[in-house]
Amino acid sequence: MRPSLRTHGAVALTAVAVLALSACGAGSKTTSATATQVTCDVPKPSSPTTVNVLAYNSSAIDPFTNTMVSSCSKNDYTLKHEPIDFPGQVQKTTATLAGASGTYDIVETYGFVIPQYGSQSKLAPLDDLYAKHADAYKLNDISKDMRAAMTYDGKLYALPMQAQMYIMAYRKDVFDQVGLKPPTTFEELKSAAKTIQDKAGIKYPIALPWLATADIVTSYDCILGSLGTNLTNFDTKTANFDKPQAKQALEEMLALKPYMDPQVTTFAQPAVQQQMYNGTAAIAIMFSGRMNDLTLEKNSKFSKNFAFAPPPKVAADSPKLYDTLSVDGWSIPNNTALDKDALFQMIASSVSVDASKASLPAAYPARTGMVSDSSSPYAAAANVSITSAPPAEPYPWTADVSNKITPIIANVVLGKTSADEGVTQMQQAATAAIAAAK
């Protein structure tokens, strides 16, 4: 027995040695690819401190995250960021904000969640810190509208880094082949899809993120918004699902379904991207932060064939585009143990002029005057999209209403519930959610 124990011991030791040697190089390129070195002069802390940053990976968010991590990790501060997908960020945000102490000191947030976390006092209001550092970091050049999108009840809860709006990406080569122009209404979208089905042999030309447990409600909300209706009415504190537009929006979704992959209710944005990479879809409408990936040669052999346009309207007379505007920013949890002033300076550095410039073409920075039509392949589309998006609904119950109607919308799209029954259920669920909100 002893000899084989010795052999096993030797094997184990070799393995450990190999691991130790190969530690060099581990994580060495973490931030270099999309990071910029910017000024980050945070005063030295009293003892070596680790700052944990929570932010999901996407080509639009990564430049800001990586810039912050690489520029501010000095002077006894170490910033740590682990790669995580978007559902993971959502779950960890809830978990870290839930208790009296949390794991993360800086969290990525977006307009949709600001009202709910603001009203629950989970995020630190940044107004005082903003006033203190505005001149040093030129914060007043950050778009006023975007700052307003991150404000709730008069207090600023996040520092905006970028805006994301819906962009329509399409295969220019396929469009040219069958003689199409980018559609401007849902009718045109459907007829373009039919033409592509018949003449270009792509079975399911349209790709939208309709994940049944999350994204599908965003799509519904955009259709409703394009038709000029909000989910709820703030003044009367009622839900709008008894209006005809609510049912019409569901019907529009059902009308698009035949042109989309039957598994679409399992697709979040990465899966939609994959459809475009594969060439199994020719038209996709999703957030601008996912557009840059499509142009990277590494990801797809069709990377040179994508063109971008603003999303279509639902109908020719619709007041707005099928669109939404989401502002992404950095927030500081109330339950962090670290010095909030230092944390604020870190997030301010990551949205500095240099950092924002460097985030192009992947992101649409929140600083005014950064994006001209030639800044990125989709910049022209973004500039149009951003002006014609439906307004946001920064009410304390919006997140809860959205979560409650999501499974109902999914059931209608999957054919398990009729549209009539669907809107009735949505009205009930939304009314209850509004009543329950403080």
């Binding site: 779950q91 809830t94 978990a95 904000l97 839930a98 208790g99 009296a100 049944a212 447990t213 992959d261 039957p262 598994q263 209710t265 399992t266 697709f267 899966a271 994959q274 459809q275 594969n278 199994t280 499974p407 999914a410 999957l414």
Partner: protein, 288 residues
């Protein structure tokens, strides 16, 4: 052995198990009677969580699905495990190689294996299974959107990683079959089916019982594979009880911790019911 020595030897382990298993279990029971969140003291609400859980359609679906899944997987494991063990039993030189190849599925972490499995079936990400099925039959199965195809994938994955275990255990049993009895049966003219059904299987009853025990115990608590293979589990009715508990008691920051704890307790009861025969057998064996 003297009492003092006995307890001194057993104590360290017992202390760890009591403090890290029994006390948290007690806490779960406590929580099941409260409306509570992590870090809160919690307010007592009696059996309300239990009535909520038992009347919740989602919970009922989860129970039906989980128990059904457990029984199906156990049956498949027994049949396939027996066939495979019989086949491997005939090998001599090739046995370590074949065993090694088969053991891989058992040794890989459940989640990692399920992730690899999901890529086999995900047509959007180039899954070859879909590709071949489409080539052969022209059918397009929606493995992640439709309920029954998804159930097939789940059963396949769970059988995949439990089969090596079932096979090995039955193999060990096969090797302790009395060769003289086998010879006698063959001389009496028993064909292969008779041989297995009437002679071999009864004599490996013990290991078959063990496979049933472990399979019941583990599959009813299934969690890891659903993370990778059935993210839409609730929507298509393929949610296991553990997955439901995770959703309710942890994912949203513990908003419904009391309800989740009640479901934990109910699951313990379900497991207890499934295991009653095995507990009796253990008690008998322990006193040998």
């Amino acid at each position: 052995m003297r009492k003092r020595e006995y307890w001194a030897l057993v104590a360290p382990s017992l202390v760890v198990m009591v403090s890290l298993l029994a006390i948290p279990l007690y806490r779960t029971i406590e929580w099941s009677l409260q409306r509570v969140n992590y870090g809160d003291p919690g307010t007592f609400i009696g059996l309300q969580n239990y009535t909520t859980a038992l009347s919740d359609a989602r919970f009922q679906r989860a129970v039906v699905f989980t128990v059904g899944l457990t029984l199906v997987v156990t049956a498949i494991l027994l049949v396939l495990g027996y066939l495979l063990a019989t086949a491997v039993n005939r090998l001599r030189r090739m046995r370590p190689l074949v065993l090694g190849l088969l053991l891989l599925a058992y040794v890989i972490p459940g989640l990692v294996g399920a992730t690899m499995f999901s890529w086999l079936f995900d047509s959007n990400f180039g899954g070859p299974v879909n590709y071949f099925i489409a080539q052969l039959t022209g059918q397009d199965l929606l493995w992640f959107t439709d309920t029954w195809p998804n159930r097939v994938v789940l059963v396949l994955n769970i059988v995949w990683f439990l089969l090596p275990f079932a096979m090995l255990v039955i193999l060990a049993g096969l090797q302790s079959v009395n060769p003289e009895v086998l010879e006698a049966a063959k001389i009496d003219g028993a064909g292969p089916f008779r041989l297995h059904w009437n002679v071999i299987i009864p004599s490996v009853r013990g290991v078959i019982g063990f496979v049933i025990l472990i399979s019941l115990m583990d599959v009813v608590r299934i969690f890891d594979p659903l993370v990778a293979l059935s993210p839409q589990a609730a929507a298509i009715g393929n949610e296991s009880i553990m997955f439901y508990i995770y959703s309710v008691a942890f994912k949203d920051g513990g908003q419904q911790l009391g309800l989740g704890s009640a479901i934990n307790v109910l699951l313990i009861i379900i497991i207890g019911i499934l295991l009653i025969p095995s507990i009796r057998a253990t008690a008998r064996e322990g006193s040998r």
